[in-house]
Symmetry: C2
Subunit: 293 residues, 2 copies
């Protein structure tokens, strides 16, 4: 038995394409319609098995769907949700996969046609790769998806969206859009900015000496620049605050190095090391809890 | 036929232990003496097969060796080389594996007993792990080892040290100690500092939302703090210059985000992305050249 008759995925890149692969493999819907703006991407998504059919017309897919997942870049999500909602039948649920939530959720809150509900989501998964050919099965397995209902979101809609992500193997965490944006600035948006700035600051002529450390620290600098520019601007205040935190941390390192203060440097180093250990513990606890489920 | 009769490895952690494993597996020496300051580490190194015998007495090992590789932390290398050189027979070659070269090589230059030669080395390999139990075979395979002779280093000694690293599968690059330190500040020392500062600046209570990006960007923050404090202080001027470069890059990002300058942000992002692509190309060219050898 399918959980949904028709799921529409708007934007069939790495994120949307991977959702499609799982929805199909787990038989969560009879039809999976891929919506895009370029015929070539849609063709690639269908060839990769991400969707059962494709269309360039968002309205057409929205009118046929019970569940619509908008996986377009952050700067397009509000517009795509509005277009989809205007064409959707009453009872249709819409969610997204955007890396920021505050501006998107607040812009849509209370503005959609009666009977069409939007619940914001952010699946914390991905890679520096992009496009439907980068889509993989189980991208969301054991990953966290933050779901961000507001005061006006019907509780049943939130639960359905949470169930959807859990069916893909994810754990869901409920947060306000604002709390999400503050947290993700620290764990994702600022690290992307730092990785990019570090890569850019490394002179090209010494890169033959770059080893694993440089490659890992700058891996996410290879992410899509257009996508990330939108995320950084959209979550502007939180990103700038997080950047200030890092710069203050760098200033402490600078002073300790200037003073050849080995003991002070070791203490600073220890703080970062403890954060890594905390993160590792939280990750393994979460994974074993989710395996027990 | 062995290339050396007796190799002494001073400091049998990840770096020294891995050298020992290769020297033994490739039968480059009859005896491989592990030297350390704690009996427990030496026992672990012998149990892991890194060395054929062990001693707490550096002088004793140095007197028996044809080739001595000093793999102690940067802050101890000069002293250990001096102690080894004073006990060594004429004709003995000494090298090291320190991550900085300027202060070490210049402190030793022209100060060793006649007939004992030191040539600085830096194998650009490692991991955030440490200790003899972290030692692995082929750690140096396809890796770059920078060898830093000075104006007074006998050419034959430099060639022998280069041959040693090549026998472990590495490629060697010859540089001045000063050029090495400037390059490695950019490709390794500053990235370690940035990773550590970023990890420290991430609030502990949001780490449950940290995903692959955060974990990769901060991986090397888990490295040994005592070791890295010494490296950062030893290569002080170059590290502070490199840090300034990154801070300037971060300032440009900050201004673009403040001004919601999407096009400017994309241009900044592109610079880092190109550096990643350059590094990737240099890596794969080097690997295929070394496979052809």
């Amino acid at each position: 038995m399918n959980n949904w008759d028709t799921v529409a995925i708007v934007g069939v890149g790495l994120i949307g394409g991977s959702i499609g692969l799982d929805v199909r493999a787990k038989k969560l819907a009879k039809r999976v319609i891929g919506v895009g703006r370029r015929a070539s991407s849609l063709k690639a998504a269908k060839a990769a098995g991400c969707v059962t059919e494709t269309t360039l017309k968002l309205e057409q897919a929205a009118a046929a769907a019970d569940l619509i997942i908008v996986c377009t870049p952050v700067g397009r999500i509000v517009e795509d949700v509005r277009t989809a909602a205007a064409a959707a039948r009453p009872g249709t649920l819409i969610t997204d996969a955007g890396s920021t939530k505050g501006s998107i959720v607040r812009a849509l809150d209370g503005t959609l046609p009666d009977g069409v509900v939007f619940v914001g989501s952010h699946p914390i998964a991905g890679s520096e790769k992009s496009g439907p050919t980068a889509a993989v099965r189980d991208l969301y397995r054991d990953r966290v998806v933050v779901v961000t209902p507001t005061e006006t979101t019907p509780a049943a809609a939130t639960r359905t969206i949470e169930r959807f992500w859990k069916l893909l193997g994810a754990r869901t965490v409920r947060m306000s859009p604002e709390a999400h944006d503050a947290a993700l600035a620290a764990t994702s948006h600022v690290p992307h900015l730092i990785a990019s700035a570090l890569a850019a600051a490394t002179p090209a002529d010494v890169l033959n000496l770059a080893a694993g450390g440089w490659h890992d620290t700058t891996r996410i600098a290879a992410s899509d620049g257009a996508l990330w520019s939108q995320i950084l601007c959209d979550n502007r205040e939180c990103v700038l605050e997080g950047l200030t935190e890092v710069e203050e941390s760098l200033e402490m390192f600078r002073r300790a190095i200037e003073n050849r203060d080995l003991a002070g440097l070791e203490r600073l180093w220890q703080v970062g090391k403890e954060r890594r250990e905390t993160a590792k513990k939280k990750k393994s606890n979460a994974t074993s809890a989710s395996r027990r489920r």
